[in-house]
């Protein structure tokens, strides 16, 4: 069985986000970009399934501008067997991505499609659900545990829900989106970086896949959260009570 994993290139998790002065979006030039952490977890899970002998190939896919190749190289260095880059320089929204994945799945025929539950840049949390809808595949979202049963062609997925766990059994093929606690992704080792050099990254465009990129939504503006005022250190409890009473008027 083949596993396909979606990988998004986003602003590095540790970078402080700056909103562009014209509020059209966030600053991305000269900013460190990395693999979306949830995608990293999805890839790790795919690699573990393959290492346990339950899958034969892991294919990493990224949709976006030319630099996505760097992110795919990271995926290959982690252990993916090959990669597909669907190049598109402009803005993309979840529905377009979902359509691209639908087309890729039709061509590649994986038994499992793994995605991160959301990307940390737009926090959409939609792509996995949309592509499952388009494919008419069952979906297990927010997975914190995945157990594949090849023989019976099912996969069991634990989902973290408010106040407990929900366990689902899905018929394969299926779509799974991954949550934070599913696993701890591996580092890219030098031997694997070396191997990755000879792995193939196939380039495609949305046209190749007969997907038309259009959007029925428009981002009006992006703003920073209001700045928090600096705290003050008071010298006594009396002063605190006085401030709470007379300034904050909460007691």
């Amino acid at each position: 069985m083949k596993i396909m994993v979606a990988i998004k290139r986003v602003i590095d998790y540790a970078v402080k986000i700056r909103v562009k002065p014209d509020k059209s979006g966030v600053e991305t030039s000269n900013v460190k970009m990395s693999m979306n952490p949830f995608c990293e977890i999805a890839l790790e899970e795919a690699l573990r399934i393959k290492e346990s002998g339950r899958a034969s190939e892991v294919v990493a896919v990224s949709v976006g501008p030319s630099q996505c190749v760097d992110t795919l190289r990271t995926g290959l260095a982690m252990g993916a067997d090959r990669a597909i880059h669907v190049e598109f320089p402009g803005t993309l929204y979840p529905l377009s991505i979902a359509k691209i994945f639908k087309a890729l799945v039709d061509a590649e025929k994986p038994g499992l499609l793994l995605l991160g539950k959301q990307a940390i840049d737009d926090d959409c949390n939609q792509t996995g659900q949309m592509v499952a809808g388009l494919l008419k595949w069952p979906q297990g979202t927010f997975a914190s545990k995945v157990v594949l049963d090849e023989e019976n062609k099912v996969v069991t997925v634990d989902r973290e829900v408010d106040g407990g766990l929900e366990t689902l059994c899905l018929d394969l093929p299926a779509v799974i989106t991954t949550d934070l606690r599913l696993n701890q992704p591996r580092y890219a080792t030098l031997p694997n970086i070396m191997k990755a050099k000879s792995k193939v990254i196939k380039k495609l465009t949305p046209q190749d896949l007969k997907v038309e990129i259009k959007s029925d939504l428009e981002v009006i503006q992006v703003t920073e959260p209001p700045k928090r005022k600096a705290g003050v250190i008071l010298s006594s409890v009396d002063e605190l009570i006085d401030r709470l009473k007379n300034e904050a008027r909460v007691i």
């Binding site: 998790y13 540790a14 970078v15 982690m78 701890q184 030098l190 070396m194 010298s235």
Partner: protein
């Protein structure tokens, strides 16, 4: 006794042994005739090493070969380590004790808030980060401005009240806490950034700014602080300047000296020296700010600092690597210098003992190379402006080194999070050592090719009695040698000192690469500096602080200060 010895050793090395023999003759003789051999330094050769004496390295005492041996016990020695015994100095009685008038005066100039008398707070301020040095000060002052510092010092100087300047109190040589009842002057409340010039990158700030806050302030402005170290969350820029702290990152500008473009300092008598000039080049007269960099609070209190900060470069790459032996680490370093050139920004090493310790004692850390144990681990960082070019350069260098057999294994950080977790391992070592028990810390500069021999010799000397842990900045020959034991123990200490200082001196190394001398090594200065140099230092100290109130008992041997005229009973 130690003072006498040290003083002799500095003033007239040739007579030290004779003087000791004269003074302490009886102690050494217990049926045998024993002679004392004071350790050699690179400036004076002691009689040890001359024919006819057993070269008992590290004992501080030598025995003529003619001495009869005691059956089964080797030589019998009764008084060991005379020449470098660690002992606490005695309180200089010329210093006054604080009284109620002093306290009300301080309250008048600083307000209630700036005068700390509570036992709990004083207890913290009296104790150093390692919990190894403890003073008994009854008073801590927290000035809020240069003016207040000046008033405090003026008063203390006229009253002959000894003081200890204190920043974040993370110093590792006992320099930041009182030895006796010195008044603690803590500058933490002076924590404003005064200006930042976006064109020149010059930051001017008060001495009490916490390093980490400055790092993130500059990060927001698109610049970087030319200093980053494990204690960044607590240590302060004034303390960093005063200890001339060195950093993990920044290969060539390692000591942070090159980044300091100006200082404001208050002298012992309250005079404010404004040397904050923010010019890059200025050669009018002596560049006096250098006197205060690394002076550990013994010449003045730093109140403001101006720092030349470089713009942030967008591309930083970090690799965590494993080597089989020390020779490979060294070869890797010279190859890295050659092949990575200007983008190489850090080259740190830790040995297997350091790695094991960190993994055992710190939570949430993960071994980046879990599949096998390795004898040495290396961190290589590159900093540049061309993301993919830099990464490719580093990758191909590492892959080649792997093929050459210099590297056993390695991982390359793929995002900032991974990079921080690799750095956390290296930077967490001091913390892990603290958790493991007592620790004897040595921060040495040594020729890189000899550096690890000392670690191995030390392991041999100590056997199973202690865990010898080594890490450091291989890039500039700075070894952090740490000897971790269950608790502080004189018999272990006597196996370590003076051996470690002698060894270093023999290699023409420095006994303090970056931590300073403080109280711990004040009497050890002669291992690294010639008598003439130490004399000049003492003369400068006397000129700037005639009453010796600033951080007494630290940095320079007390004996030499009293000799050159600074008052002592």
């Amino acid at each position: 006794m130690e003072d006498t010895t040290t003083n002799k050793q500095i003033s007239s090395p040739t007579t030290t042994v004779a003087a000791l023999r004269l003074f302490f003759h009886d102690y050494f003789v217990d049926g045998y005739d024993t002679s004392i051999l004071v350790s050699s330094t690179r400036f004076s050769k002691s009689e040890r090493g001359y024919p006819g004496f057993s070269n008992r390295k590290g004992s501080g005492i030598g025995i003529p070969d003619s001495l009869p041996r005691v059956q089964g016990h080797g030589y019998r020695i009764h008084c060991r380590n005379i020449a470098s015994m660690t002992s606490k100095p005695v309180r200089n009685q010329s210093f006054a004790m604080i009284n109620c008038d002093d306290i009300s005066y301080f309250k008048k100039i600083l307000g209630e808030r700036g005068v700390v008398l509570e036992e709990e707070k004083l207890d913290d301020a009296n104790t150093d980060w390692m919990r190894k040095f403890k003073g008994s000060s009854k008073l801590m002052l927290q000035p809020r401005s240069t003016q207040e510092v000046s008033q405090i010092l003026d008063y203390c100087n006229s009253r002959r009240l000894a003081v200890v300047p204190q920043g974040g109190n993370t110093g590792l040589v006992g320099g930041s806490v009182p030895v006796f009842d010195e008044v603690i002057i803590n500058v933490s409340s002076m924590n404003n950034t005064i200006s930042f010039d976006k064109d020149s990158g010059i930051l001017v700030c008060e001495a009490g700014c916490i390093l980490e806050n400055l790092i993130s302030f500059l990060d927001n402005e698109g610049y970087i602080m030319p200093l980053d170290l494990g204690a960044k969350g607590s240590c302060q820029i004034g303390g960093n300047v005063s200890t001339n702290a060195g950093a993990c990152a920044l290969f060539d500008t390692r000591t942070f000296l090159s980044g300091i473009s100006g200082l404001e300092v208050v002298l012992a008598n309250g005079t404010v020296l404004d040397m904050l000039g923010t010019l890059r080049k200025d050669n009018t007269g002596y560049d006096l700010k250098h006197l205060f960099i690394g002076s550990e609070g013994s010449l003045g209190i730093v109140t403001k600092v101006s720092i030349l900060t470089p713009p942030k470069l967008s591309s930083v790459n970090l690799a965590f690597l494993a080597c089989e032996d020390y020779t490979s680490c060294q070869k890797l370093l010279s190859e890295a210098k050659r092949k990575l050139g200007e983008i190489l920004s850090a080259f740190e090493f830790l040995d297997i003992n350091a790695m094991d310790l960190v993994l055992k004692h710190l939570d949430g850390l993960r071994n980046p190379l879990p599949s096998a144990k390795h004898n040495f681990y290396i961190l290589i960082e590159t900093t540049g402006s061309m993301e993919s070019h830099d990464k490719e350069k580093l990758e191909s260098f590492l892959l080649q080194s792997m093929e050459n057999g210099l590297l056993n294994d390695g991982v390359l950080a793929q995002d900032v999070n991974q990079a921080s977790s690799f750095w956390r391992i290296r930077e967490g070592i001091p913390e892990a050592l603290m958790k493991a028990g007592a620790v004897y810390k040595y921060d040495l500069s040594l020729p890189p090719e000899k550096m690890y021999n000392l670690v191995e010799e030390m392991r041999e000397r100590l056997g199973t009695a202690a865990n010898v842990v080594a890490y450091g900045h291989l890039g500039d020959g700075n070894l952090h040698l740490n000897i971790s034991t269950r608790q502080y123990n004189d018999s272990i200490l006597s196996k370590i000192e003076p051996f470690v200082y002698e060894w270093t001196s023999e290699q023409r190394g420095s006994i303090s690469a970056e931590h300073g001398l403080g109280l711990m090594k004040a009497n050890k200065i002669h291992y690294s500096k010639s008598a003439e140099t130490v004399q000049l230092m003492a003369a400068i100290k006397k000129l700037l602080d005639p009453n010796g109130i600033l951080n007494p008992y630290k940095v320079l041997p007390t004996s030499i200060l009293s000799q050159s005229g600074v008052d002592e009973p």
